[in-house]
């Protein structure tokens, strides 16, 4: 294994749970499993691995790349949400109990959806700003609005 590959493999091992959780939190068409999405994310991470300059933390960079891959994959593969959860999505932790909330979050436009997911994963405003390319102030305002919108829909 080349040195770069070894470092890459170490990085993937450190963030495998985060990557898997991001893959499982998007609704893809039935033809796509979380495993397929995981592979796509690893490919994109490897493509960008050499250019990761350390301007953000590794975890933030992984989240950004994985999220961008999933957004692109969702656009490419699915015009309609999956009517039921696949086995792999259930393994990924998306259970019926949170189904409504996941569906509601999926209705949010980008970058609000990413902001909500980053917030839920515990990223700070500054880290979320690095992920989305927005300012910290814009992240803060968008998060408040997105949460308000979600709450309104949830309470209906």
């Amino acid at each position: 294994m080349e040195p770069d590959e070894k470092a890459f493999a170490e990085m993937v091992r450190r963030h495998r749970n985060l990557i898997w959780s991001i893959c499982g939190s998007y609704r893809l068409s039935e033809a796509w499993t979380t495993e397929d999405a995981f592979h796509e994310v690893l490919c994109d991470l490897w493509r960008g691995f050499g250019s990761f300059g350390g301007r953000s933390t590794e975890r933030t960079w992984v989240f950004r790349v994985a999220t961008n891959t999933m957004i692109s994959l969702t656009r490419r593969t699915s015009n309609r949400p999956s009517p039921r959860l696949t086995e792999s999505q259930e393994r990924a932790g998306v259970s019926d109990e949170y189904d409504n909330l996941t569906e509601l979050i999926d209705t949010l436009p980008e970058p609000d959806r990413t902001i909500i997911k980053a917030h839920a994963q515990g990223f700070s405003y500054k880290e979320t700003a690095q992920i989305t390319g927005l300012t910290v102030a814009a992240v803060s305002v968008r998060l408040m609005r997105a949460l308000r919108k979600l709450r309104k829909e949830y309470d209906k």
Partner: protein, 115 residues
């Protein structure tokens, strides 16, 4: 109307669920996935595959030979009828020809010169 704290609890539970989600497979599967991703996106492997598929160098070598043979013909000075093209091994080869010969005659000439 749902309980006003219900939403906050759900959001928190959603975050907890995301944070506590674990990759469900073992080290061996993960290593295999990593190798598969690296192999399928490494430019050198793609380039090697393309190079093996598109063997362009025999045509370039043939074109260089033809050019080397045509240039002296041109210098011998015959009639001037410009650019010709002939088919060698299914490839169209374009060259400057001043000999006034037909393509068939030119090929025969080239073959004689090569021999």
């Amino acid at each position: 109307m749902k309980d006003k704290h219900d939403f906050d609890q759900q959001i928190n539970a959603f975050g907890e669920k995301l944070k506590t989600t674990r990759y469900p497979y073992g080290e061996a599967e993960l290593n295999r996935e990593i190798r598969r991703a690296v192999w399928s996106t490494t430019p050198s492997s793609t380039a090697a595959a393309q190079k093996a598929h598109h063997r362009w160098w025999p045509y370039a070598a043939a074109a260089a030979c033809v050019a080397a043979l045509i240039l002296p013909l041109g210098r011998w000075g015959h009639s001037t009828d410009g650019i010709r093209n002939v088919s060698i091994d299914g490839e169209q080869v374009y060259f400057a020809c001043n000999s006034g010969c037909s393509p068939e005659e030119t090929i025969e000439t080239l073959k004689t010169l090569i021999r």
